[in-house]
Symmetry: C2
Subunit: 202 residues, 2 copies
Amino acid sequence: MAGLREQWRRTAMRTIQERALDLFDERGFGAVTIEEIATAAEVSPSSVYRYFGTKEGLLVADEFDTMSAATLGELLDPADPVGSLVEVVRRYESPKDGPSDAQGDGRAEVGTAGPWRRVRYFFTEPSVRSAALAAMDRAAVRIAPLLEAGGTVDAAQARVLAHALTFGYFAALETWHDDGGTRPIADYVTEGLAPLRRVWSV
Amino acid sequence: MAGLREQWRRTAMRTIQERALDLFDERGFGAVTIEEIATAAEVSPSSVYRYFGTKEGLLVADEFDTMSAATLGELLDPADPVGSLVEVVRRYESPKDGPSDAQGDGRAEVGTAGPWRRVRYFFTEPSVRSAALAAMDRAAVRIAPLLEAGGTVDAAQARVLAHALTFGYFAALETWHDDGGTRPIADYVTEGLAPLRRVWSV
DNA sequence: GGGTTTTCGGAGAGTCACTGTCAGAACGCG
DNA sequence: CGCGTTCTGACAGTGACTCTCCGAAAACCC
């Protein structure tokens, strides 16, 4: 099913991202060129653009972008979107893949390993932050119709609430980052978005 | 008080923006270079960058960015931020400066004149949209501490709610734009953000 | 398994947004 | 009018990003 091409494409993308992260961590985002990343990953600069579109795209690869509408619909409960969001975060933030104790030294720290390694740049590099905001916006556009299907709000309100959810998540993520990334992200989302729950309470 | 320099700077900025809008409307955002804008406005490209930073900055000149914290504090009521936002929009959207009937033909249309002329590009040019999102984000960062001072939420929640407000406004603005821009923006904000009011209701 | 089609990565050239630096000019002030 | 400050324009440079073309390898068909 997964052809050779598709398979190689995935591994290539992962290695490109890892090499890029290595270079970014070493010398800073701005001081690394696409050409250097391409050389380090043993691909052409063209491929980096084909895969990720922009330099920021190397860090902001939105999982929601590739997620089908059906899958998204399963995850999100229109009656309790905040709860659904927390659940998604909690599931994605599994101990194995999460940032906690990735090096076995008993300490969790932002940017050491796991899928959250890249998140650090969301809040330190302005251009990356902007790209992350754009990703949140795209997610909101896809979530809005699902909220509308819930029934209690119209299309315009669903659009507003979808943005409130995704960017509220972003804000919670920043608080998590500012805190040093030790406690689970899901906790920050739960606490930070608590006031928003009132919107959907009877 | 306003020295000659400051005065000339302001008029220069306005003419640059107007020339830029003219060119954008005529040939599209992507097809116009900074150099062409500079030539049309009879300034150097350096000045364009000095004034606006980026090409998108020509369209996304955020009023909140230049607004002092004190002024912002006066406008925003922590007990009813949604109402404050509606009030600010209503005041800014005065009939004279607004998009309504600017040509005296009895029709209001998006992008014909007034301060809302540039808003059209927020929702048609991806890079401009991204810049607008970044401006909303900056506004949220400034608003958050004011919400916290209200007393009912902590810092993390204030950050979430500030983002919910600013990006909710953005969403309402898009609905307004999609509708053709005939009805007042304040109406869209009022209706779109209505569910968010529940957050602050007793 | 051989021939055809389709797809995809690499190479190269080109555009343009954006960043510095620097010298000169205009302004503000005494 | 003279002096220090501030702003402007000119210039060169960097690098992100786009576009096009070509060869190779995978996918498809028999």
